[in-house]
Structure formats: C-alpha cells, structure tokens
C-alpha cells in the first residue's frame, strides 16, 4: 500500500533525489529477493520432502508443503484415525474412528472417551482426516544407511583428494614453465593447451578405456586419479596468469643468490601464490565431487567403489517410490561442497573471474 502510494506521489508531485534513490533501492532489492526466492525454492522442496513420512508421500490428500502426519488416538490398545465429523449445527468435530464401514462409522471423542460411542451415517472416506506438523528426522539416518553413505563418502574423498593433489602439483609446475621460461614453440604449445578446453572427453574415451581395461585399471580408482597428474588447461591458465603478476625482480634476486629455478619456484613463487593455489585446489576438489561421467564409465559394475554421484543416481533409479529418502540423500550429497563454498567463497569467486575474464 505505502509503496503504491509513494509511486503515485512520485508521478504527481515529484520526489526528491533522496526519495527516488530509496524507491529504486526498495524496488531493485525486492525484485532480486523475489528471483532468489524462486531460484532457491527447489531447495525448500528438497528439505521439506526429506523430512516427510512415507505415508504422506503416497497420500494425495495430505497437505502438500509441510511435513505432516495423520493425528491418531490410542484407545484400548487400538490406534484410531481422527476425522473431521460434521455436527448437526453445521460445524465439525474431531473424532476418532472406532469402526469404519461404507454406510456408517462409529466414533468416540478423544477428549472425552467415557462419553461413549457416536454413530455417524455416511461414508467415512468422505471425511477429512486431521493432520499435525510432524518432521521425520530419522529419514536422514535411514538414507544414510540405505545409500551406504560412509562408503560413498570414503570413495569420493579418495578420488577427490588424490586427484586434487595430482592436478594441483602438476599444474603449478606446468604453469611455472609457461610463465617464467622462454623457449621455442612456447606460444604454440600454450595455444594447444588452451585449445584442449574444447576437446570433448568422448573423442579420446574409447581408446583410453581400452588402454585402462588392458592394464586392469577398470573397476579401480586409478582411471579417475592418474590422468589428473598431467595438468589441465583451466588450472594452468589460472596459475600462469597469477605467476605472471609476481614481479620478476624477486626471481632475479634469488637467482643472483645462486638459487636454481626449482628453488626459486619453491621458495619465491609458491609462497606468494596461496590464493591462486587455494582456488585451484577448490576447483579440482569440487570437480571430483561432482564428476559423474568418468566414474559411471569406469566403476559402474563395482558398487563398492561408487562415489556419491553414481551412488545417488543409482539409488534414485532404484528407489523412485521413496522420494523422501532420495531428497534426504541429495541433501547429504550437496552439504559438504556447499558448506566449503560458503566458507571459501571469496577466494573461490575471485578465481572464477580470474580464469574467465582475462582470456
């Protein structure tokens, strides 16, 4: 109401700059907030579904948004469903159904069971059940066990940690080589390296797969780890850009003191590159956490080596009837990368810009 009034006022009387500024702020922030709300809404679906009961998932009349369960009343050892029964004066009363038939239902009042039984003429199925908010937190426990998350986490971590180590260690060497040394064909080689960004993995996959299966590496972690020990274009590009910014005076001073390039690399370049190194470590770690295609190719017939990505997909394909557990599994899967991202967002997002714009 007030904002509409202000807009109308702006037209007729004209606003001061300050008021106009404030209005723009409210509008822009409001629009951004609305988009963000829609954008993140699926996470709300994931979370609320994850804590719903199986019965609510399969009950089409249950409240759709929040986790609810039907209210029951225990009477003489029986668990009775509570229904909303119409009363003669036009209202409804919440009563526990003792005997349900198609034509008449016997109820008792859960507030006052001693009052005896009431008989209501009509089909009990036409009556609305009574629901209450009820979160099934144990779904996380169940998803944790059913998907065997300890195993999935272990596999993912092994692949991610060993792969990240190799990718970063090799990429810093290669980036240093491209950043600090002049040799014939360097520019051509660097162009080839950058061009490999667009090379589809499919173009090399069949022979690589045959090679790995010949040497017995399929159904092991090795095909997912070893190829990363040979640097990659994204990491090298980012690190090289960073190394180029480090003044050469420092290298030269160290060289005069008799340090060889390896020593300069270790004690001059690397200590100054912590932000770039952190970014590259994070990139590769997230890449490995996310990777689905390569583990699917190399590990599909070996469930005990599946990482999270393959485990969650297979579970989703098999247990489509338990969406609550699947959503709980999705939440467990995304938790770690998202939390790490929030902790390290600054260095991470700077790294993206660094490798994306400077091209």
């Amino acid at each position: 109401m007030t904002s509409a009034a202000t807009t109308a006022g702006a037209k007729s009387s004209g606003l001061s700059n300050k008021q106009r500024n404030l209005l723009s702020k409210v509008m822009t922030t409001g629009v951004a907030f609305l988009i963000l709300l829609l954008f993140l809404a699926p996470l709300g679906y994931m979370f609320t579904t994850a804590i719903k009961s199986d019965t609510q998932m399969s009950d089409p009349d249950a409240p759709p948004f929040w986790p609810h369960s039907k209210v029951t009343f225990t009477y003489e050892g029986q668990e009775l469903e509570i229904l909303q029964v119409p009363t003669p004066n036009g209202g409804t009363q919440e009563l526990a159904a003792l005997q349900k038939t198609r034509t008449q239902t016997t109820f008792i009042d859960p507030e006052n069971p001693e009052a005896g039984q009431f008989v209501w003429e009509g089909n009990w199925r036409t009556l609305e059940p009574v629901y209450e908010r009820d979160a099934q937190w144990q779904n996380f426990q169940q998803a944790w066990n059913d998907l065997n998350f300890p195993l999935l986490f272990r596999n993912t971590l092994v692949i991610a940690i060993f792969g990240t180590f190799g990718a970063v260690a090799s990429s810093v060497f290669v980036a240093y080589g491209f950043a600090r040394f002049d040799f014939k064909g360097k520019n051509a080689l660097f162009t080839i390296l950058i061009a490999t960004i667009v090379l589809p993995i499919q173009a090399t996959l069949v022979p690589t797969f045959i090679l790995f299966s010949t040497i017995g590496w399929t159904n092991t972690f090795l095909p997912l780890i070893v190829p990363h020990y040979f640097a990659n274009a994204y990491n090298v590009f980012l690190l090289r850009q960073y190394f180029l910014q480090i003044p050469r005076d420092l290298d030269e001073a160290a060289a005069i003191d008799g340090a060889n390039p390896l020593r300069i690399f270790w004690s001059v370049i690397l200590p100054q590159s912590v932000p770039a190194l952190t970014a590259v470590i994070l990139f590769h770690f997230f890449f490995a956490w996310n990777d689905f295609f390569a583990p699917l190719i190399y590990l599909v017939s070996k469930p005990e080596l599946w990482p999270l990505s393959v485990g969650l997909q297979k579970f989703n394909a098999l247990y489509g009837r338990q969406p609550n557990l699947i959503q709980a599994g999705a939440l467990i899967t995304l938790a770690l990368p998202v939390v790490i991202f929030f902790l390290a967002q600054r260095v991470f997002m700077r790294g993206i810009v660094f490798s994306g714009v400077e091209k």
């Binding site: 190829p227 990505s309 929030f342 967002q345």
Partner: protein, 325 residues
Amino acid sequence: MAVKDQTPAAAAVKPAVAKPGRRAQTKQQEQTRWGLLFISPWLIGFLVFQLLPIVATLAFSFTNYNPVQPENVQFIGAQNYVTMLTDSKVWKSLQVTITYALIAIPASFIFGLLLASLVNSVFLVGTSGFRTLFYSTSMIPVVAAGVIWAGVANTQTGWINLFLSALGVQNPPDWLNSTFWIYPLLVMIGFWGLGNLMLTLLAGMQGVPTEMYEAAMIDGAGGMRRFRSITIPLITPVIFYNLTLMIIGAFKYFDLAYVLKNGTGGPEDATLFYALNFYKNSFEYNLMGYGSALAWVLFLITLALTAILFWSQSRWVYYAGDKRR
C-alpha cells in the same frame, strides 16, 4: 631423459661460437631445458591421454571393435560412417542436441545478464550476499541437482505444478514425460549452474569505464540504451568466451539427461543427446568401433564450431586494446 641429453650437445657446440653469443646461447638453452622440464607433465599427458587417443579413435572408427570379443576385430573401412548416415538415432540425437542448444543458450544468456545486472546494480542492498547465494547453486553436484528437480517437477507432489495450480493453471504439464516440456525443465535446471556466467559477465560489466556511461548520459541516452550500446559491446569478449563453452557444452551434455531419465533417452528419445547416444553405443551395446566413429564426428563438429566462432569473432567481439580495428 630427452631434456637432459641436450647438455652434452650444448657442450659440443660451445667452442665454435664467439664468446658473447655463446653465453646468450647457453642461457637460451638453459631456459629451454628448464621450461620443457617444467611443462613436461602436461606434454606427456597431452600425448598419452589426448593426442594418441584421438588418433586411435580414428583408427578404431574403421573397425567393428567390440570389447566382449576383442579377438574378432576387423577392419571394415568407412562402414561405421555409412551406418551413421542412415542411423535414425544419430539424426535424432543431433536434433535433440541442437534443439536444446537453441533454447538453452539464449535463455541462459538472458538470465545470466539479468543476474549480473542485478548484482551489479548500485541500488541493490546486500550485494555480496545476493552474489554468493545466486552462485551457491553452482556448487550443487549435478546428480543432486537432477534428483531435486526431478522431484520439483513431479506432477503429484512437485512444487512447480502445485504453484501453477495455485495460479489457476488447469492442466499443468508433465515435465518429465513430455517430449516438449522436458526441454524447458532442462533449461531451468541449467540455470542453477550459471554462477560462472554471472560472475564473468559481472566482472566484464565492472570493467566498463564509468566515463563512457557519463558521456552517454550527457548525450541523453537512457538506461536501456546505455546497456545495449555500451555495456553489451564492451562485454562481448566475456560473451564470446561463455558462448564457446556453452555451444561445445551442448555436444558434451550428458549428466542431467542421464540422471533425469536414468539414461533411457526418453520420453521418446527427447533426451537422447549426442553424448548419451555415444555412451549407449560404446558402453551399453559395446559397439566401440561404431562409438569411435560417433566420437570422431563429435570431434569434427567441435572443431568446426570452434573455428566458426573464432572466425566470427572479428565481426562482433570488441577488444579494447586491439589496434587492428
């Protein structure tokens, strides 16, 4: 090893060269030696995991190689390529891939530009919070994102259709089982991965000199006009970079198609992307010779598209420091 062998050779050359030149040459050789030593991990990896396999893929594409009976491998000439021409699945997969690219790429750019403009606005309160949150979905593993959106798009319990029903839409679509609505769904899921696009566009926008906007304002240009005539041209390098990745990405598109429909390519092959068809032939039907032909054609398509993009660059991409323009 090869790198080290250069040292004796260098020593042998020494006496023949005059003194200053010799020092320069040794320095040059030293540079080459160290440079090659440092880049050798990539050189080896490039040879073993990229260059040789690409050549080998070409070789395999002329065979009927099947990993179940590798001993029966035969050279069959160009037969795989001939089969491709008449394989309706290949044409379908190209159609699916191109359809998706034609919808997803413009939609992603519009949404990415919208997000970047929003988080670049001086009127936005809490800018860094919005940036972080809009980026955060890019960190969600793609399988988890697929699983979540498959739930959101569910006709019974999914929030999209509950929302549409609440708005009064009579027959909300069955997103996952409609050969039409599956594409908008994939595009929406793709929006969750636009963090990099948003950030690079944002950085591009922030690199536009303020004087240009000021000059345009003095000339009476409005907001939209400034966006179209200053912002967009000046961020074309960023657009070019992202456009290249997205076009190539469409031909590599696999994960979400696989997760949403469990690799079936359904409904009615509507998610049979090129990369999925390659996967099915090579790793489900074990037709690795045929798969190699599919892979080589994919490689050629990628090469051609990249070449076209780079050729088109001079017509629409603006590089501030470029003297040739």
